[in-house]
């Protein structure tokens, strides 16, 4: 508890105290990078979270099939989640290198044309960051949704088959109602974590080119590197109105569960 006080409460309140200076906000809002960052963050969140969960929902339906080879595939599938972020993100970064990367070499060999500048075009670079994020986080959420699907009693599906339900109807009337709560909770949690995803963006693009590909999580670090702690703190405080309601909502959900359980 002492640890908690010293390393959580103190930094947070100290940070808020640091951030009291209104001038740092003004400076922050006047920084053209900031506006770009906010737009990037919103796009990143909307696309990454939704795409990830649609894929996870689909793939969880694939992985629940009872085959030995599918179980093996699921063991391989979890690798991106199991290994540290740096090696794989660097690997992808090299694959996307416009001059020597394997992807553009392949494009050149097949079409004779130079491939796109994956990481120096801001839009493409953001899209690639989203892909890296999905590559890394998809296995975890697929696993969670799969556990949700496995918890549905088999008898429900058998009954539906007897009634002549199609695959889609089974999903619509049996699967979805059972995992909807889990799906929503997971999406919210993922929204918070995606907002805090520093690695996928920073290790891939470093905010380059020209600081056009920052998200809020990396912008704070950029200001630290520039030795502008006040603005770094202001960035975090600006993000709080989005984070705190989500956190509050998650906590309510979880403590409601706990009371049900006990």
């Amino acid at each position: 508890m002492l640890v908690f006080g010293v390393f959580v409460l103190y930094p947070v309140s100290y940070g808020l105290w640091l951030a009291r200076n209104p001038a740092s906000y003004q400076k922050l809002f006047e920084d053209p990078v900031f506006f770009r960052t906010v737009v990037n963050t919103i796009v990143f969140l909307l696309v990454a979270v939704n795409l990830k969960f649609i894929l996870a929902l689909f793939l969880s339906g694939f992985f629940v099939h009872e085959r030995k080879w599918i179980r093996w595939l699921s063991v391989i599938f979890i690798i991106p989640w199991a290994v540290p972020a740096i090696p794989t993100i660097f690997s992808i970064r090299f694959m996307l290198n416009p001059e020597w990367g394997v992807i553009n070499s392949l494009i050149f060999r097949l079409t004779g044309q130079d491939g796109p500048n994956w990481l120096t075009d801001p839009r493409l670079a953001m899209a690639m960051a989203i892909l890296v994020h999905i590559w890394k986080a998809l296995p975890f959420w697929t696993l969670i949704l799969m556990a949700g699907r496995l918890a549905i009693p088999k008898e429900l599906y058998e009954a539906a088959s007897v009634d002549g339900a199609s695959g889609w109807q089974k999903f619509r009337y049996v699967t979805w109602p059972s995992i909807r709560t889990l799906y929503v909770t997971s999406t919210l949690l993922s929204l918070i974590w995606t907002l805090g995803d520093f690695n996928s963006v920073y290790l891939l693009t470093g905010g380059q080119p020209a600081d056009q590909t920052h998200v809020l999580a990396t912008l704070g670090i950029r200001y630290i590197r520039l030795d502008q702690l006040d603005q770094a703190m202001a960035t975090i405080v600006v993000a709080l109105p989005f984070v705190l309601p989500l956190v509050y909502f998650m906590m309510k959900r979880l403590s409601a569960d706990e009371q049900k359980a006990s």
């Binding site: 959580v8 100290y14 940070g15 595939l73 972020a85 740096i86 992808i92 630290i224």
Partner: protein, 279 residues
């Protein structure tokens, strides 16, 4: 029969893209690490002369970026183990106090723990950096250890509290009737029963610390204190960095956590999903 075949084919149609999507970046690392500099860029799926030379260069610290390789891997290990042990101490005692002794304010601590767990670590980095500066810990390995313990504890406390709530109360009562003090209860009854969860949480904290990049590079910058993760980041300082050597180092860095993850997968996935499915 035909319909069955069709269904199998549909499954494979999903499986093959999934397999490629998952493995290509991993294979890319592996391919580079066993290639010579010239053949690495030839775009072949398998090098003409696979070699372990890159690993030799790494282990003998023969490259400019690798002069401190063994030092850095030792730092990574030291930090990871320290985080694992300290997190266990903090979380186990906290969970025991809240769940078994029912200390006052336990609920508040649980809520506070959940709260910090949900706030993204990248946002806590700025105040943490500032606080470590105030404590004068910047550039000491302890700063990273303490920061990571802070990040790992909330989840650890939460999971261990859930697990210990499931232990039967009768055991505590029996031990108390036999005259056990809370400390004896903790040592003789509680710890042995909690062992599987403790293994899972210890592993979780260990891996979290080994894999961490953001905090490591913020808090540590001296070449004698940085862990391997930050050392890898240094490769990007220049455009003509030796990819094949970086990839060999990256592979060495990624293997231990992957091995540990798969060894304890049963515990880790079990713990995670148990928490998530309930909600």
């Amino acid at each position: 029969m035909n319909r069955k075949l069709l269904r199998e084919a549909r499954l494979w149609l999903v499986a093959i893209p999934v397999l490629l999507w998952t493995l290509i970046p991993i294979y890319h690392i592996f391919l580079f690490s066993i290639s010579t500099k010239d053949s690495a860029f030839s775009g072949k799926l398998w090098p003409d002369h696979p070699t372990l030379r890159n690993f030799g260069i790494v282990f003998r610290q023969e490259h400019f970026y690798l002069h401190h390789f063994w030092n850095q891997i030792w730092n990574s290990l030291w930090i990871a183990v320290a985080v694992g042990v300290l997190t266990l101490v903090v979380a186990t005692t906290a969970a025991f106090a809240i769940s078994r002794l029912k200390v006052r304010g336990g609920r508040t601590v649980m809520n506070a723990a959940l709260f910090t767990y949900f706030i993204p670590a990248a946002f806590l980095a700025v105040p943490m950096y500032k606080a470590m500066g105030t404590y004068g810990l910047l550039n000491s390995r302890w700063s990273l250890v303490l920061a990571m313990v802070t990040l790992a504890s909330p989840y650890a406390i939460w999971v261990l509290k859930q697990a210990s709530d499931k232990l039967p109360w009768e055991l505590d009562e029996a031990a108390r009737i036999d005259g056990a003090t809370p400390l004896q209860l903790f040592r003789l009854v509680y710890l042995p029963l909690m062992l599987p969860s403790l293994v899972a949480i210890g592993t979780y904290a260990l891996l979290l610390a080994w894999n961490e990049y953001l905090y490591a590079f913020l808090l540590l910058s001296h070449e004698n204190t940085i862990p391997l993760a930050v050392g890898l980041g240094h490769f990007l300082a220049s455009d003509d960095s030796p990819w094949e050597i970086l990839m060999a180092t990256a592979l060495i860095y990624a293997l231990p956590p992957a091995a540990i993850y798969y060894a304890f997968r049963r515990y880790m996935v079990g713990g995670l999903t148990a928490g998530a499915v309930k909600s």
